[in-house]
Amino acid sequence: MKKLLLLLLLAHCLAPASELFAGKPLAGISGIQSDSARGRSIANLLEMHLYNILRSTNSFNQIDTAQMRSQLVRFDCLEDSCILRFAQRADIHLVLRGTVRDMRSSLDIEIYALGTGTPYYGARIYRYHIRIPLSRMSLSTREFSYITEEHAGRFISNLLCRYRFPVAFTLQGGASVPDYPEPLNGTFTLYRFDPSPEAREPLRSYRKAGEVRLENGRITSLAPGTPQPGNGDFVFLTYENKSRYLTDFYRGRKRELVLTPWNVSDTLYIMLFTAPASASMPLVVPVLGHYARGDYAGLGLWAVNAAPYLYLEADGFLNRPQKLKKENRDISQNDAARYNFALYFCFAGGMSLFVDAFAQDYLHQAAQYQDIQPLMGSSLSAAYLSLICGGGGHFYRGHRAWGYLYFHLNNVMMYYTLREFSRAERYNSDTDSYEKEPVDKARAYRYLGAYCALKLIETIHAVLLDDRIENGELVEEQTAITPAVLFDPEGNLAFGIQGTMRF
């Protein structure tokens, strides 16, 4: 009986795939390699989450990860070339692989997917490489699980956005129907293989044959010029909707885990705290903000970027109009503008740098799942901060480069607008009084209009941006542009620039 079963199985083994099996694509995780004990446990978590997330999409048949890995290890089949051979033979359409490298202070995670059959023929579909900093964070199994789930979710989501699965048409009762277990709906591009190379060849070329409309797995219409789909013609099934769903789901879930729910009172607290925070910024931000939190890049940026405005603020207060009046000195338009700017920067303008000093740290902790962060993640607060100080909303969201851009734009525009509205005063020794000089109101309102437009753009931009709570840093090393010096076939030197894209 055992022999019979084995023979039956063997017969199945040797039968061509297309005759036996039509269904969802088959996916397998061939194991995540690691180089340390900590890496091994993280690799296990990653495998588990990849498997579960893939299953949650309900788009794939899956092979048990542990079984597949143990067999591949047993037969020392660990290279891409061997695994691809195995996957092609076993009709596994999608193979997920990866490595976790423990760099002591960080983890390097690389995951990639290989596809077999049309249209990939073994090619790498997507590669995801992330570096997760680990220093000065208390990360337990709970946090590591969340972190690996987040990356697995992002990987699967990006993979699904790219993945295409061919569904062939078969003739059933004289009608062509897509050979897929679930009814297909929608308009699809129809493809047809070129007659040569033949079906048994390792690669085949195909061309667009037209468009078909399917409803409940039946052809309802063909675009003009489209031939009737024949045996072997196919359409590509895409997974973009599921990819979007996964992206939204994991983004929303992370916000729930690490940020407080939307709350108006938080914005009110920020409003109340604006003036003291802005006024104390020159002392609090470098010492209690950047330095105490170990944000040295932030400290350097603060020193370089805040210096000119702090000078203007100090100069404005030291040479304030009241003091100049006591000394019977003329008050120039610049003196008045500097004083007004000093008032603005003292009670509102400095708030953006205050926000930067603390938001960076809060968001970094949120990215590493270190408890729920208070006051963060509110669009209303972002809008308020954008309105009252330059780049405040962007700093609040964690976008430092944007924040500094708007910070400088805002302050420069604010200074010149205040300058246009400020009136110079000349001391008249005859009357022992000050005479105010007129201002060009039309010009001043033009400046005000430009400033309001800037604030509108800044506020909308800040509200539309997402909070930077993604874990890890994406390692961008897939593309490179380098100068090239080559010999052409005739032996002549050829100079140029080459772009390289790694897969």
Binding site: Q67, Q71, D76, Y291, G294, Y296, P489, R502
Partner: protein, 509 residues
């Protein structure tokens, strides 16, 4: 010579028709590992150029582990470069078992390479002395007999050995253009190439190769389907010419090398392992050192370095002498210039102190904190050199050096260990500053001097950003010894327990 064909793993001739059978079928199909491919089918990975990596056997388990790690990294680098596909482990093991019987390791490796029929093979031999780990890596060409290249590298950090070998492999790929063979032709003029996505080819892209235009229709991982506008009957292979990004690959490895080296020598991972090294460094510079220097100018800077927990630290006496001399200039130059007649304090002006002299006096006293900081950084640079440690923030050393030069004259140069250059910038900037202040109301002299100071400051910042660190223990790990003649002596034990004493003079070409 036994030229048996190596069995190719072909597990998995199976279709999963039900979820319940999947696992069993996987095991079953994997077990059928020697099932040959049908004659008409092509195993794409077997058509591409390949390389086998061997390690020399050794009795020391630590060296054996390092050899394996090095071999894996070298294979990974070959894989990343996309020109020579590393032979699969099980095939290498099979070839070694076939070849090893009764032979010396050297000849067993060359026999195994012949059995595998790879284009290249690499032999890695690792050894250790009390201070260094050594590796000798040799690449030999089987199909290109002329190719034979050897690298000898050494490192004080064992983890760097695989990385250094990997970097050499990455750079070995410089200029190796993509050349693909036509392995099958079809009736419609299309043909199959033994180069695919792994080599950098992209489906839908057209390549100009000499007089021929090749369009890639489909790419697999290792093969491609292509067509040309002209006849290809008389062409057997196509030179695409595009080289792998060897420099980019080496740059990635350089980053990893730096990371392990900083982890090995950095203050934060050694002396201040359980403390916040960055905080201590800043506190030392801004709080401890000014206090120390106020109590004891010059030597106080050395005492302040104790805050970073250096062990068996000794001061650099010439450095202290220079900083004390400079401090005395700051303190007493105006007095000395007026024959010690003017008031000692800058805020007091008398008939012997002109307005220009008072400005200079205020400037010199006002810049005493720079003297304290420079004295401290000089002592630190000396201690980093002698105790072989790297300062905090060294991962971002260029930014940090630029910032230090921005706030302290010559600060960035001291940070990177260039003490003499640091003192030069310090004296230049202070002198120009003093001259500018003294001559501020003397025509344009003061302004011109200020302009020159700005220029020197800019050069100081740029120089400190662009210059490499001078810590030899760091540069020895991260830089390639590609330009100098080096004399090396070695004493190590080979895999056969043979003592080897070596002396070599190396001049890279």
């Amino acid at each position: 010579m036994n030229m048996k064909r190596c069995p190719i793993h072909t597990p998995g001739r199976r279709i999963f028709c039900s979820a319940a059978m999947k696992c069993f079928l996987v095991m079953l199909t994997l077990a059928m590992n020697s099932l040959p491919l049908p004659a008409e089918e092509i195993d794409p990975s077997s058509t591409v150029k390949s390389v086998a990596v061997f390690t020399m056997p050794h009795n020391d388990p630590a060296i054996l582990a390092l050899s394996r790690e090095a071999a894996e990294y070298v294979e990974r680098t070959f894989d990343r470069m996309g020109r020579f596909l590393p032979a699969e482990h099980h095939r290498v093991q099979w070839a070694l078992t076939q070849a090893r019987t009764g032979q010396a390791a050297e000849s067993a490796v060359s026999d195994a390479a012949r059995l595998l029929n790879t284009d290249l093979y690499v032999v890695i031999s690792v050894s250790r002395s009390p201070r260094f780990s050594y590796a000798v890596m040799e690449i030999r060409g089987q199909k290109h007999q002329a190719l034979r290249k050897t690298w000898r590298i050494r490192s004080r950090i064992a983890r760097n050995i695989p990385l250094k070998l990997g970097r050499e492999i990455a750079l070995f790929h410089r200029g190796i253009g993509l050349s693909a063979d036509i392995i099958r032709r079809y009736d419609n003029g299309q043909f199959l190439l033994n180069a695919g996505q792994w080599h950098g080819l992209r489906a839908g892209k057209t390549y100009q190769t000499g007089n021929t235009t090749v369009t890639i229709l489909q790419t697999g991982r290792f093969i491609s389907l292509a067509e040309t506008a002209s006849r290809t009957a008389d062409i057997n292979h196509i030179n695409f010419g595009n080289s792998p990004d060897a420099e980019g690959g080496a740059a990635v490895i350089d980053v990893a090398l730096e990371r392990t080296t900083i982890a090995n020598y950095g203050l934060g991972t050694t002396l201040l392992k359980h403390e916040n090294a960055e905080h201590r460094y800043i506190e030392g510079l801004c709080i401890i050192n000014p206090g120390g220097n106020l109590c004891l100018p010059g030597y106080g800077a050395f005492l302040a370095t104790e805050y970073l927990r250096f062990q068996n630290a000794r001061p650099d006496v010439p450095g202290i002498a220079v900083s004390v001399s400079a401090f005395l200039v700051h303190l007493a130059l105006p007095s000395a210039a007026t024959g010690f007649k003017c008031n000692f304090f800058p805020w007091e002006r008398d008939s012997d102190k002109s307005e220009a002299m008072q400005r200079l006096h205020i400037f010199l006293w006002g810049t005493i904190p720079f003297n304290f900081s420079v004295a401290y950084m000089d002592q630190l640079a000396h201690l980093f050199h002698t105790t072989e440690h790297l300062p905090p923030f060294f991962e971002n050393r260029n930014t940090m050096a630029g910032f230090m030069s921005f706030i302290i004259p010559g600060g960035g140069m001291f940070y990177k260990g260039h003490r003499f250059a640091g003192w030069c910038y310090y004296f230049s900037e202070l002198s120009l500053g003093g001259y500018s202040v003294y001559n501020w109301e003397n025509g344009n002299r003061g302004k011109i001097a200020l302009g020159a100071l700005g220029l020197i400051k800019l050069i100081d910042i740029l120089n400190s950003v662009l210059i490499g660190p001078s810590y030899s223990f760091f540069t020895a790990e991260t830089e390639r010894d590609a330009s100098s003649v080096s004399l090396e002596t070695g004493m190590y034990r080979t895999g056969e327990n043979e003592e080897v004493y070596s002396i070599s003079l190396t001049r890279p070409l």
